[in-house]
Amino acid sequence: MLLTLQSAVEDIKESHTTEVSKIARIAAHGSLMGARGNSGVILSQIFRGFGNAVQQKSELDPAELAQAFEEAANAAYRAVIKPTEGTILSVAREAGRSAVAAAHEAGVTPADVIKAAAAGAKVAVERTPSQLKILQEAGVVDAGGYGLQIMLEGMVRSVEETGADALAPPPPRVAAQSALELPEEGWGYCTEFLIRGEALDVERLREEIAALGNSALVVGEPDLVKVHVHTDDPSRVIALASSHGRIDRLSVGDMSSQHQRIRQESSVGAQVAAGGRPPQAAAQPARANGVGLVTVVSGPGLVEIFRGLGADATVEGGQTMNPSTQDMLAAVESVPYDEVVLLPNNRNVVLAAAQVPGLSGKRVHVVPTESVPQGIAAIVAFNPERPVDQNLQEMRKAAGHVQTIEVTHAVRDSRSNGLRVKKGDVIALINDKLKHAGADYGSVVRAALDGIKAADYELVTIYRGLQATDVEAEKLSEAIRGRFPGLEVELQAGGQEHYPFILSVE
């Protein structure tokens, strides 16, 4: 939400305009281009409603201002298919109502209207736990609604102070930098290649290569291993790898220059392609149906998997780092196809992704995948020989057939779905719903698999995240094989953050 607001603020500053209708229009556009996450997208719609209400106006009186607040809330409601009370939506509505009520008072000033909106928002935020059971169980208020309250309170402070003093110093550009890992000893070279050979020892290679750099990712099979490493001395890595097998598709990128370029570009365009790599669209063979594939994903292993299955560009994005509409738009524009299928792969990204078709000159189709397994199922179902309509149908169907289990640790004590969870517990979310908690990965995952009747399925794929070790992953595979001898278990290095394991059951 902060990033969304920053995007709007920067555009306004650059415009040097003082006319309210223009400022509101720029805020609407800037926030939409920078929209991240559900709350961010809704915020952009709030700005849009506000902007529509103040069209053609160079100044606002208190009644017009209040009306604009109300229209902002209405626009936000219209943008959401299933509006939920107890979220930023109801907070926006209460802010609008309070503003309109205040505007009817005699002798009211614009500052009074804004104060009333902020006060209305505050009351609404306090009410959110009573409206949403999950908030109550977790003992928190709605974050998006609270964010809107803080914004309105900021406006109050701004109008109470005078002109220029009210402007805060420009915010640091957190967004662009946090998308990249900062090695302590410098940027070095992003080195990638395949090793072809026989009986390659993946574990040993991983150890040896990890010793020569950081962010090392070494994955594969005994006959084919993919290496990705950031190193100051690519030649040593290559020499080491050549002693094990034949090197293929070598690519060495200077990350210092990459980093500078990213800093020079606007914060948003820089994140296209995970790890700061430019989209590698040109390397792909031309596709018979002329349809490109863009996907949101983070974690080097998962990025590699999506690329291997045909993704033309990937947009860095994960559980807490939602990509903006602009990031996705830039990726869509970067691929050499006029028609593009976009996979958001996270429930919180679906809404921002849904804005892309309206902004792009290309024909963009969003298959609303809500998890990594759904995204992989969808992209596997894509066939370059098939027309796009048929592909969309198959991709949606495939995404709907896969079960997602996300495994992580609880960040606080809570009660949810009748489940008592202590901070630090291993928890499993089945299709985004918290279902199981316990002391260790094996028991929690087994319970989750029992819960979805995994014996009726054929294949479990485990995507190991950064927080889990190889040994833990092997133990988990064994635990699953022991419980479900009929299931095939495949282990992949995903490299994702936040989830030590993501499991796909199909």
Binding site: K226, G308, V380
Partner: protein, 277 residues
């Protein structure tokens, strides 16, 4: 036996042994090499022996086409028994077998050998061999076989692309298969071209997809279900196919021979058929 012409094929045609005897079809073996050990396909090496060796092998076997001399020897022998030969083989885009056959034919002076590039493999070639053998003359056989070459189709689910890739027949990109995740390709062979038709993550999804692809090509005049150590799935596939087929079309069933299985890998299951003209 006095017949005016004979039919020759190679071991990748997967002609059932019963047809060989009944129709007098000659089968020239390709070679399978495990390291330095070489085996004549189906002669020194049975299907079962092959798969048990494959499981134990540290290195994948390789295959090679018969030498022109192998063909010449067969044609030479047949030239004393009949007036001509139709020799129907594995697609020239997949193997050098048909070129060897042509060179072998040139070595036998004054004996008509009509070499046909089937542009296909397995029971598609098997069906053509039988059709040729059932013809009343060499001319009729050549005509019946050549008109069917463009209508031969194969659909196959491979358990892994590894074998086909190692054999250099197809790249991972062509097969729509990535380098990291285990994806099972559904491949097709039509008019000499190997192409990826689809990809699936689980075998259960693959069988209905094979049937669906098959239905798009109906009507058909001959059908066979082929497998490499996957008899149960082959039976299931056969049952699914039988539901939709007119009673007149029988479904042959057979195991893929060692040379072809070297490229498909174990676990492959597929349909070989001739589209109706």
């Amino acid at each position: 036996m006095s017949r005016r012409f004979r039919v020759v094929t190679d071991s990748t045609s997967d002609v059932p042994p019963a047809w060989r005897e009944r129709f007098g079809i000659e089968v020239v073996p390709l070679t399978v090499l495990f390291g330095n050990e070489s085996f004549r396909d189906g002669v020194d090496l049975s299907d079962d022996e092959f798969f048990s060796r494959l499981r134990g092998a540290s290195k994948l076997p390789t295959t090679s086409a018969p030498a022109p001399g192998d063909f010449a020897a067969v044609y030479e022998r047949l030239s004393r028994e009949c007036d001509g030969v139709i020799s129907i083989h594995l697609g020239g885009n997949l193997s050098g077998t048909v070129d060897s056959a042509r060179l072998g034919a040139q070595a036998v002076d004054g004996f008509p050998v009509h070499v046909v590039d089937s542009r296909s493999v397995t029971m598609c070639v098997g069906f053509l061999s039988r059709l040729a053998a059932e013809s009343t003359s060499l001319e009729e056989a050549v005509q019946r076989v050549e008109e069917r070459v463009p209508r031969l189709r194969i659909l196959a689910l491979l358990d892994t692309l590894r074998y086909l890739e190692m054999g250099g027949r197809v790249t991972r990109a062509q097969a729509l298969v990535g380098t990291v995740l285990d994806v099972k390709p559904i491949m097709g062979v039509a008019e000499g071209r190997i192409s990826a038709l689809d990809r699936v993550r689980t075998r259960r999804k693959a069988l209905p997809r094979l049937v669906e692809l098959f239905h798009q090509d109906e009507p058909v005049e001959r059908v066979a279900v082929m497998h490499a150590e996957a008899p149960e799935e082959a039976q299931q596939l056969r049952a699914r196919l039988a539901e939709g087929l007119p009673g007149a079309v029988e479904i042959e069933m057979s195991q893929i021979g060692p040379v072809l299985a070297t490229h498909t890998g174990p676990g492959a299951v597929g349909i070989a058929y001739i589209k109706a003209g």
